[in-house]
């Protein structure tokens, strides 16, 4: 498995648990009756908190992943060959035009899903849905869009990208 694929998997792994944790947390809080589902302040604070957790966990996982990768390259290359280790690390984490193209194509899917979610949220609101429901639809569409982006990137890395 290439560096790019591993990095994408780490991205997905940092996004999925946060989305699931948010779903569980919100479900428990609203089911227990400790929170008024129409209290927009609660939704604002909860969503901001989970976005923060998502960003922080993503950064920490990426740092850990790169440390692990550097260690594994150093072990493979052998002791006392600092220059070679540095060269191998640089050669591994290089980002080229194919990566950028895959990122662009995947982003397109992410934006499509997020945009669709936004429209669904507006339709939901237009049909007398609650503001809290609309916010949740948007939040999940952002999350699903971001995760789908990762899966599409993986698919492109596996299957290739015909004619750029």
């Amino acid at each position: 498995m290439s560096y790019q694929e591993k990095r994408t998997i780490v991205n997905i792994l940092s996004g999925v648990p946060v989305l699931i944790a948010y779903g569980i947390y919100v479900f428990i809080r609203t089911r227990s009756g400790s929170v008024d589902p129409n209290d927009l302040r609660f939704w604002g604070i909860t969503m901001l908190t989970f976005i923060g957790i998502g960003v922080a966990s993503g950064i920490i996982l990426q740092i850990l992943f790169h440390i692990g990768l550097s260690i594994s390259i150093a072990i493979k290359t052998g002791d006392g060959k600092e220059r070679e280790v540095e060269r191998d690390i640089e050669a591994t984490i290089v980002e080229d035009e194919m990566d950028k193209l895959i990122e662009l194509k995947s982003l397109k899917l992410g934006f499509s899903i997020t945009g669709t979610g936004f429209v669904i949220a507006l339709i939901y609101l237009a049909f007398s849905g609650s503001a809290a429901g609309m916010l949740n639809i948007m939040f999940f569409s952002f999350g699903i869009g971001s995760i789908s982006e990762g899966f599409l990137s993986l698919r492109y890395y596996r299957k290739g990208l015909k004619n750029g």
């Binding site: 560096y3 591994t92 980002e95 080229d96 194919m98 890395y157 290739g160 015909k162």
Partner: protein, 79 residues
């Protein structure tokens, strides 16, 4: 009839003649990732003109020695 252009390459063969140069080494010298070299070699990615020149430069040959275009005609509407 519509013309279909398919980019083919001789990277595997050129690597063999370059003392079995590894994909990692080719990637490093061309300034791209190994993943990209694998995709280009397998015909899963058509590189940009710049990348094609870089790959050809590593082998010290003309771009046409590395890449070629296979044209075939398929049935279908144009445009």
């Amino acid at each position: 009839m519509v013309k279909k252009f398919e980019i083919t390459n001789r990277i595997r063969e050129l690597r063999f003649f370059a003392e079995e140069m590894t994909q990692q080494e080719l990637a490093r010298r061309a300034g791209v990732s190994r993943q990209t070299i694998i995709a280009v070699e397998a015909g899963k990615y058509a590189p940009s003109l710049e990348m094609a020149f870089r790959i050809a430069d590593v082998f010290g040959v003309a771009i046409t020695e590395v890449f070629a275009c296979k044209v075939s005609e398929i049935e279908g509407k144009k445009g």
